[in-house]
Each structure stands twice: as C-alpha cells, then as structure tokens.
C-alpha cells in the first residue's frame, strides 16, 4: 500500500461454523502427527503412548540406523529427481494444453490425469513387467523407479500449472513476439512470472507425493536401496520400533524446513491452486 493511503479494514470475518469445521479438520490432520512425534521422543524402550518420558535416544538411533537413514537419504534423492523431471515434463504439457484448442482436448487432459486413477500397485506391476520384457535394462534400477514416480506426480504438476494459466491471455505473448522478442525471451518475461506459482506448487506436490510413495515403489525398488516408506513397511511388519517414529518425525521436519524456505520466496498460499479441467 502506498504511503498516506488510508488502511481500510478488509478483514473478512470467517463465520463461526466455518471456523469450527476448520479446527476439526486441523485436529484430524494433526492428531496422528502429534502422537507419532511424542512416541518418537519416548524415552522408554518400545513404541508406547503416552510416552514414558522424553528423550532423543530414538532420534539418535535413527541417525545411526543402518536401515532407516540410508532409506531416508535415498527417498530424498529420489524425490528430488522426480521433482525435477516431473516439473519439466508437466509444465510443458500444461502449456500446450492451456494454450491450444484442438479436438479431443478433453480426452488429452483425461489421458494425462489417468495415472492417478489407477492403483499404484497396478502401475508398478505393469511397469515391472514392461521393463522385463523390453530389455531396456531398467528392471530394479533407480531410473526405472524414477520413471514410475514421475508418472504419478506429473498429473499434479499439470494441474497446478494449468490452474495458474486459467484465463491466460495469449495476446500478451503475441504482443511480445510482434515487438521482436524471441520465443525464449517471451517465455521468460511474459509467461514464466504468471506460471511460476503453479510451477513451484507442482514441484512441492511432486516432491511430497514421491517422498511418501509406497504403492508404485513396491515392485520397482532396486535392491540395496529402499525408499523410506518401503523400508518402514518392511521393518514394521515384524516390530513396531520407535526408530521408525523418529524417521517419520524427520520426514516432517524436512517438509517444515523446506516450506519455511519456500515461504521466504513466495506467499505459500499461492501454491494452493489446482485445476484439471
């Protein structure tokens, strides 16, 4: 707001019933998280709630653990790779879908949404069989796993970038082009600022979805390197250990930190914009 302008109080008051429901939602979302955090900070020997006392011993155990820490790091790497490829591919597809009209556009949109409609285990299985029979050497390799993750995260990127392009007026781009700007410059100066919230949002989505992905990873995991959800599941089949809770805490910690960083770069609310139609 410019100096000297009168500040008009525009605070929209949210009706009580809405507030109440919103709080219910928040409680539902966060209650298990709180339980797990407390369980992971338990000073006792096994996974109990309420905790016997508070201690960092399981967090330390997590750092020392031969199974969970490597899995955590692998998931991190995997999610970053997925985020990178998914964002690039998804943005390109969204741009084309938003800018052009052509027959069958609805089908095309549905087509790119389709990976979300099938169970992850079906996709994983289908890809596994495909890798085996195609001889591309992708079976049980990290690239093979990344491909699976990119498939299930691309739709989110397409959705968010598409949302930021709603109402996008091609004439801006055309104007820039007619003034002599090359396609890359046009993209950088005109299009990119408009879609950047959508791109960032899509990246965040794809990171989170990839990091927590279990179903698709089940059949595509390379030996020796497990993503964290698979490592947790393999270990928790036999014993519920507090180290697992500590691993969960760290995953959340990671998200909180990266979100705080992102919040410096852009208003986080702008990230929440998805449109698939």
């Amino acid at each position: 707001m410019a100096k000297g302008q009168v500040k008009v109080r525009r605070e929209r008051s949210v009706p009580v019933i809405m507030r109440v429901l919103a709080i219910v939602s928040l409680v539902l979302l966060l209650a298990p998280v709180v339980v797990v955090i407390l369980a992971g900070l338990n000073s006792g020997d096994h996974l109990t709630f309420p905790p016997d006392g508070l201690s960092l011993r399981w967090v330390v155990a997590f750092f020392r653990s031969g199974a969970f820490l490597p899995a955590y790091l692998f998931s991190l790497l995997l999610a970053l790779c997925t985020m990178f490829f998914s964002t690039i591919l998804g943005t390109m597809i969204a741009l084309v879908l938003a800018r052009n009209e052509f027959p069958g556009k609805q089908m095309a949109r549905a087509f790119f949404m389709a990976p979300l409609m099938l169970p992850g285990i079906v996709l994983g299985l289908a890809l596994y069989l495909f890798y085996l029979s195609s001889g591309l050497g992708l079976t049980r390799t990290m690239p093979g796993l990344v491909i699976g993750h990119v498939l299930v995260t691309c739709p989110y990127v397409i959705g968010t970038v598409n949302a930021s392009l709603v109402g996008f007026d091609k004439s801006y781009e055309e104007a820039a082009r007619s003034l002599g700007a090359g396609p890359l410059k046009t993209f950088r100066i005109i299009t990119l600022p408009i879609i950047s919230p959508g791109i960032i949002a899509g990246s965040v989505f794809s990171f989170i979805v990839s990091f927590g992905q279990f179903d698709v990873s089940l059949f595509l995991t390379p030996p020796d390197y497990n993503p964290l959800p698979i490592a947790l599941y393999s270990s928790l089949r036999y014993t519920f250990e507090p180290t697992a809770a500590a691993a969960g805490i760290f995953a959340i910690f990671l998200v909180v930190v990266s979100m705080l960083i992102t919040a410096r770069l852009t208003n986080l609310r702008k990230l929440a914009n998805v449109n698939f139609s």
Binding site: A22, P32, L89, A110, F112, L116, M117, I121, A245
Partner: protein, 278 residues
C-alpha cells in the same frame, strides 16, 4: 512441439505397459505366467461379474471413494476458506505448513498414530469411557469401514484443501460485496456467489480425492481389518498371493473403466460450471 517429450514419455511408460496388462486380462488364467498370450478370452471378466465378492468390491470401492470425497469436501472447504481469507501472512503460512506436514507422515507410521487415537483402548474411547458416555463396550472405530473412511479422509484432506485455497482466494471480493450491498445475507452470498465461484476448485478437489481414495491400497489394508475389501486389495491378492496375473489384470481393467466414467462426469460438470469456457 513442446508437448512431445511429455507425450512420448507417457506413451512409452504408461500406455504400453498398461496395454500389455490389459491384454493379459484377456488370457486364460495360469499360475505363474506373466506374459501375454493373445487369447482374447473373456472368462476373467465372467468370473469377476459372476462372483458376488468381486462386483460387490467394485461397488464398495466406488461408494467408499465417493463418500470420502464428500466428507473431505465438507471438512476441507472451511479450512481452505480460513486459509484463503486470513490476511495475516504469518498465520496463513503457518496453516499451510501444518497442512503440508500432515501430508508428509508416512502411512504405516500414521497407522500407529491412528491406532493410539481410535483403537479399542485408544484415546477417543478412553475419553468417552471416562466421561461416562459409553459403558464397557468400546466404540469400534478401527479395523472396519469407519476406520477406513477416517483414514482415507485424513490422508486426502490436504489434497482437497490445497485444491481449494487458490480458487477461493481468486474470487474477486467485489462480487461478494456487490451481493451484500444488494441486500443478500452472509449465508445467501456464500451459497449464491462464493460456492459457485469456487466450483473449479471444488470439482478438482473432488476428482483428486476420489482418485486417491479409489486407488488406495495401503489405507484399506492397514485400517480395514480385512473387513473392507476393495478392488486394489483383490488385485494385490490375485497377483501377489495367488499368482493369477490374468485375473488381477482383469480387475485392473474394471478399475480403469470406473475411473474413466468418473473422469467423464467430472469433465461434464467442469464444463457446465465454468459456463462453457474451459
């Protein structure tokens, strides 16, 4: 063309593998055989629609997903509304971070958290017992349909919220003010102006949550106590336990068909809601 890499990627790694899987569903079932035989036999589908346990599972899957989407909308809209209308940056950032953190908790660990809350000797039952609202018999909140619904809602709520916030924020406040100045009450404004303007977000959120709940394997398995057998569980059983890839593939085809129909419904609704301009 710009879309070329993405399209090629999808065709190679999505269409082709799925097509092989769907062709597999047209083969006669044989233990341990996972390669396509090109038999074009429909007995897998006959079996699916013939035994009640399977087509009931299909109805259960779809019904569950629809129910979860609705509940997620009812719970998620207010939260999204709150985040969208809170102008204090620190507050709305905190809310966003809370929502995103909840998304990040691994499902198996979440099961433990939910068990602590909803189990027979969990916190909720403990509270009800302490306050005298129920007697000795605990409320069965887990390992049944209710448990799966709660688990799925908890899992997909962030997706719904995130689909809505941007749209609600984008609603031009002048429209709402205009309605008020014309004499509409807050409630009327909400239902006649705000909700219709939020439609793209509502529909996107419903579709996303439906997709997630419909295709979820982990939540019904861990929270359903084997009483809520949905299609992904059947697929897993057939392929992994029983080695019947062909039948499992047939179930996958049915799932795909149902999703496709839902997708079509969404597209129609989205076109109507946006008044024809998409």
């Amino acid at each position: 063309m710009l879309a070329a890499p993405g399209t090629i990627f999808f065709i190679v790694f999505f269409v082709v593998p799925l097509a092989s899987l769907f062709l597999l569903s047209l083969d006669k079932p044989s233990l341990g055989n996972a390669s396509v035989q090109w038999m074009f036999d429909f007995r897998n589908f006959e079996r699916f629609f013939g035994r009640a346990i399977y087509y009931e599972a299909a109805l259960r899957s779809a019904g569950l997903a629809a129910l979860v989407s609705l509940i997620a909308l009812i719970l998620g809209y207010p939260l999204a509304f709150l985040i969208a209308k809170t102008t204090n940056v620190r507050r709305n950032t905190t809310l966003m971070i809370l929502v995103l953190s909840a998304m990040q908790l691994d499902m198996v660990i979440r099961l433990f958290g939910l068990m602590v809350l909803m189990g027979d000797v969990g916190l909720i039952n403990g509270f009800f017992r302490w306050s005298g609202l129920i007697g000795d018999q605990p409320l069965p909140l887990m390992y049944n349909f209710a448990g799966v619904v709660v688990g799925l809602v908890q899992f997909s709520l962030p997706f719904m919220v995130l689909s809505l916030v941007g749209v609600i924020q984008g609603i031009n406040p002048a429209l709402e003010e205009a309605a008020r100045s014309l004499g509409a009450t807050r409630s009327q404004t909400f239902w006649k102006v705000t909700i219709p303007m939020s439609m793209p977000g509502i529909l996107a959120g419903l579709l996303l949550v439906f997709a997630i709940s419909f295709s979820s394997y982990v939540v019904p398995t861990l929270m359903g106590g084997w009483t809520v057998v949905v299609l992904p569980i059947h697929i897993f059983q057939q392929v992994v336990e029983l080695g019947k890839w062909q039948f499992g593939a047939a179930i996958a085809v049915v799932m795909f068909a149902i999703s496709f129909i839902v997708m079509m419904i969404y597209q129609r609704a989205a076109v109507r809601a946006s008044g024809g301009r998409v």
